[in-house]
Symmetry: C2
Subunit: 241 residues, 2 copies
């Protein structure tokens, strides 16, 4: 709990700076240990401050600190899918996924613990925060699809894909961060276009979205490459048409 | 807690029959109320037996009863995806989904509470039971793809789809069980073929699976209909080829 020379232990920080510093220390601990194995002592030590100081900022103890750290992580995650409405849809999605997957990479076990549940610090409040991130991601994506009132099929497709991305992130962490992030991202973009196209077969609104999205794609973009790779696989199935 | 005339309250049941009766009563209560709002009194009343009798079977109280009910539900769910390896893949998948979605329909809030987490009765053990169901479903599906050693891409695709099916089930419950179950099932089958085909573009093993699956499909089957509905949507995108 004593701070080594050079750490910013007792440097004057504003209340907001100090709070941010403690949350950052907590998040980095949650990234490598289960939430229930992180004590306030650990957070104090990692931040180079005294335990009473941690308690002054988080009088509710570990549960309050965990929820505040989660809230701060959620704010970052919710911004991952904020992206200018310019260029092909797949380019925007790839940039959003790069930010999201970088977050997963950085927060590691903390991300997994949060989504997998069953933790002693999980409550209906923490579940609500995680659901909020999912909702925000869905809203961002739907806004890029440029429909004013997305119908049930389109919304369900987007929300299913977001859950599938979470599953892929957990599998990726579980498999020692394989495949490389670029491969994972490209595969997730492919899957998005695939599920959107399947839904387009049942839903006129989604069909409009797909037509509009395809018009902006280029032959050397993700959809062009996907189409050229998939065509040889399905070309033997002419008996279905 | 007294049983009405005609209920099988004090009829002689074997230990296994009594246990099954209590679990059934518990599951039907969990279907309509949050697990934390179901007491052992409620279970005793629903089963038409005394509270001491419930405690005799579940001395660990509510937590033990909840875990046993969950274990029993998990056994049913794990069998949903067991299906003879005959006929087109989409027919097998549709039958499995019919069983799975009937379970979701029947267990309703209990299913939602379980998957959404944040419940006071959720523990690492209950999380492990739910994960076991997901793993069993993935194994069943992979066995239908007739590959001896499924690679990472194929496994990830199947597991992502299973998570997406869970998400769709929760959304379906949340939206007052709309659309009709047949529509939901058909959409999920479409999505499975779509994501499998997208992965086939990146993975030779999955490409073999898709070729094999398509060879068994008929023009009036799910894939034939999907292909004919999707072609007009993507036909303007010849510039990508």
């Amino acid at each position: 709990m004593t701070s080594a020379t050079g750490t910013p232990a007792y440097r004057r920080l504003s209340v907001e700076e100090r709070r941010a510093q403690l949350l950052e220390a907590a998040l980095s601990l949650f990234a490598h240990r289960a939430p229930e194995e992180v004590s306030l002592d650990d957070v104090a030590e990692a931040a180079g401050v005294s335990r009473p100081l941690v308690y002054r900022y988080f009088p509710g103890g570990k549960q309050q600190l965990y929820e505040a750290a989660l809230r701060s992580a959620a704010d970052v995650l919710e911004q991952c899918f904020a992206e200018p409405a310019e260029g092909p849809l797949t380019t925007r999605l790839a940039r959003a996924l790069d930010r999201y997957l970088a977050f997963v990479d950085q927060h590691d076990m903390g991300f997994a613990a949060l989504l997998q549940g069953g933790s002693v610090v999980e409550t209906s409040r923490t579940t609500a925060i995680v659901d909020g991130v999912r909702r925000a991601a869905a809203e961002h994506i739907l806004s890029h699809l440029a429909v004013t009132a997305p119908g049930a099929r389109l919304r369900m497709t987007v929300r299913m894909w977001i859950t599938a991305v979470e599953a892929a992130s957990l599998i990726w962490l579980d498999e020692g961060k394989q495949p490389p992030l670029d491969d994972l991202r490209d595969g997730l973009v492919d899957q998005f276009m695939a599920v959107l196209t399947a839904t387009a077969g049942r839903d006129p609104q989604t069909a409009d979205v797909v037509r509009h999205a395809l018009a902006l794609e280029t032959p050397d973009g993700p959809v062009g490459r996907l189409a050229r790779r998939v065509l040889p696989v399905v070309s033997d199935a002419a008996h279905l048409l």
